[in-house]
């Protein structure tokens, strides 16, 4: 695919890493679109990004700009990497601005173990994690919940887990929104979604979802003072990263409401550029109902990642014959990257509540934000950027600039640059697995073809993404991690 000609000629350079597509680009744009990217990342972006981010700019009640982050790529409805905030009175909520995997997100956990401790036991550790954290199609969750328990989870999120001994009290404040989005209402969730959810609590899923054991090397600690605050203190320290979401439960809620929004839009005479951008006024019954159901899915995802953390602690205890507490297995943070939330932001000098959509984009609240835990309030919110399984990931920190410029938002990963079908033509899963093992990364997968689709070359260079975020100052690098063990669905 030749990508270089895709950049619209109307695009204006605002700064080294900010590009603006004016309202005149497309009929119906209510605001300009802004893309955060280095010149190289911009030129490599696919056509879909420019089409989709300008479609988002046409939605009613959108504030300031429609944004795309540097890891952005062609999605459906919104681009992946899309951020948009809408007025609560005149604006909309759109399932296509959140994605089917509601509250897909990242979780990062410390240990006090070093490479020397873990390396000799890496294989049995990964094998045990693979056995205990179900992944792939048809995987049954290790936690069988009743319908009533599921309803509790929908409303209380991660808190339910702690109450039921799947975690510690101190985990909760290290989760975005304390692991519970308010206003969740289980009566807005279909029976079908409930049926899908019942068997999937405590599953990783597949696609690009993973559980990874990662290594911190001394040269990869970018801001040592902040790293220390987040619990990264030792060179060669081992951390664990989890990437997963609300599973079939969230997918069904998104499917249900996408259907009903399309019906409602006909009645309300709301036209959009793509059916996947189906939306409803935030204040309408349809909009409110979706928000309440979406909150249920978001809470399910927080709980899913919490019970998985519990399982990880158990596995580490079994392999290293120590209590999890004695290995300092503390949660650094849990962030959502597919979500819509009501947040207060400054627009034209005054504070205003808006509904911020982040689709493949992460919250990046800066120092002093009242929503942050006391633990991190003076440094800013930890931001977790998941890279490809071959190249590594980053821990960053939120900034005041993100609050001013991007509704407190930043990138979520390295971003795909090659289609799944193409990646599969270029490498076989079993070959990739062997070659990664030679490079010191032990991988277990539920699907060999799925593994091939996630090859490192299918992704952008994550360092380019981080460089853009640093230059724009919408988040700052803290630590880079290298994978040593990985479980893929």
């Amino acid at each position: 695919m030749i990508k270089i000609n895709n950049v619209p000629k109307e695009i204006k350079k605002v700064s080294e890493v900010i590009w603006e597509i004016p309202k005149s680009f497309k009929k119906g744009m209510n605001v300009p679109a802004r893309i955060y990217a280095s010149e190289k990342l911009l030129k490599d972006m696919d056509q879909g990004v420019f089409d989709q981010v300008t479609n988002v700019a046409c939605l009613p009640g959108i504030q300031k700009y429609a944004y795309c982050m540097p890891d952005g790529h062609w999605g459906y409805g919104f681009p992946i990497g899309g951020v948009a905030a809408f007025d609560l009175e005149k604006g909309v909520i759109s399932p296509g601005g959140i994605g089917f995997d509601i509250n897909c997100g990242m979780r990062l956990v410390t240990t006090n173990l070093t490479f020397k401790d873990v390396q000799p036991k890496l294989r049995p550790l990964i094998d045990l994690l693979f056995q205990k954290v179900p992944a792939g199609v048809g995987a049954k969750g290790f936690l069988r919940v009743t319908e009533n328990q599921l309803k509790d989870i929908m409303v209380n999120g991660a808190e339910w887990c702690v109450e039921n001994n799947f975690g510690r009290k101190q985990d909760i404040e290290r989760i975005e929104a304390n692991g519970c989005i308010k206003n969740a209402d289980s009566t807005k969730v279909s029976e079908k979604a409930v049926k899908r959810g019942l068997r999937q609590m405590g599953t990783l899923g597949s696609g690009n979802h993973y559980l990874e054991v990662q290594l911190v090397t001394a040269q990869n600690i970018i801001r040592p003072e902040i790293a220390k605050r987040f619990g990264i203190t030792t060179p060669d320290q081992i951390v664990i990263m989890v990437h997963c979401g609300s599973r079939g439960f969230g997918h069904q809620i998104a499917t249900d409401y996408l259907g009903s929004f399309n019906r409602a839009m006909k009645e309300m005479n709301l036209g959009v550029k793509d059916r996947e951008l189906a939306c409803a006024p935030f204040k309408s019954k349809e909009g409110r109902d979706y928000y309440k159901a979406m909150a249920c899915a978001a809470n399910f995802a927080f709980a899913n990642r919490q019970v998985i953390l519990h399982r990880i602690r158990e596995c580490f205890s079994e392999i290293f014959k120590k209590e999890a507490e004695d290995m300092d297995m503390n949660l650094i943070y849990d962030v959502a990257h597919n979500i819509a939330k009501v947040e207060e932001h400054k627009i034209d000098g005054s504070k205003k509540e808006v509904v911020v959509h982040r689709k493949g984009a992460t919250r990046s609240f800066g120092p002093g934000h009242p929503e942050l835990t006391d633990l991190y309030r003076d440094v800013g919110q930890p931001v977790i950027l998941g890279g490809s399984m071959e190249t590594g990931s980053y821990l960053l920190v939120g900034t005041e600039k993100a609050m001013e410029e991007t509704f407190g938002s930043t990138a979520h990963g390295s971003g795909r640059t090659m289609s799944r079908t193409k990646a599969k033509h270029l490498v076989r899963g079993d070959e990739l697995q062997k070659s990664m093992e030679k490079r010191g990364i032990y991988v277990k997968t539920a699907s060999m073809s799925g593994l091939a689709e996630e090859a490192g070359f299918a992704y952008k260079n994550i360092s380019d993404v981080v460089h853009t975020l640093e230059t724009a100052d919408i988040s700052r690098g803290v630590v880079a991690f290298k994978p040593i063990g990985n479980i893929k669905g």
Partner: protein, 136 residues
């Protein structure tokens, strides 16, 4: 040809274009494309028959709901299908699906999360065509 994958659409997901000489055949081939994305259908037996009935306000929506139902049955009942008989009349659909429950003999492919409405369109030219993007 019953369908083809579109490589340069939706980078992180999977898109296909199905075709058919009639609307019924188009829906059958779109279902087959989804089934092939989820598993190698040549490894499937047809020991279970399921019927699906859907009614929607237009045909695109009908296709969206029909395919979404297959994803639902995969998740909840672990059913995979390889043969389809579809009858579309106006905005109503009734379909018979042949397949079996997940077992070790089935060669799995992608875990399709959902059917999207992105670019979803049914077109009638020399034949009927539909483009569908699946969320992976």
């Amino acid at each position: 040809m019953r369908f083809e994958y579109l490589e340069d659409v939706a980078t992180a997901d999977i898109a296909f274009r199905a075709e058919g000489n009639s609307l019924n055949e188009l829906f059958e081939n779109a279902a087959f494309a989804l089934a092939e994305t989820m598993a190698d259908t040549s490894t499937l037996k047809d020991s279970i028959i399921r019927t699906i009935e859907v009614e929607e306000e237009d045909q695109e929506h009908l296709l969206f709901s029909f395919l979404s139902e297959m994803v639902y049955l995969r998740d909840v009942e672990l059913l995979f299908f390889s043969k389809f008989e579809v009858n579309v009349e106006g905005n109503k659909l009734s379909a018979k699906l042949y397949g079996e429950k997940l077992n070790d003999n089935i060669s799995l492919r992608n875990d399709v999360k959902a059917v999207t409405m992105h670019m979803l369109k049914i077109q009638k030219k020399d034949k009927y065509y539909a483009t569908v993007v699946l969320d992976i």
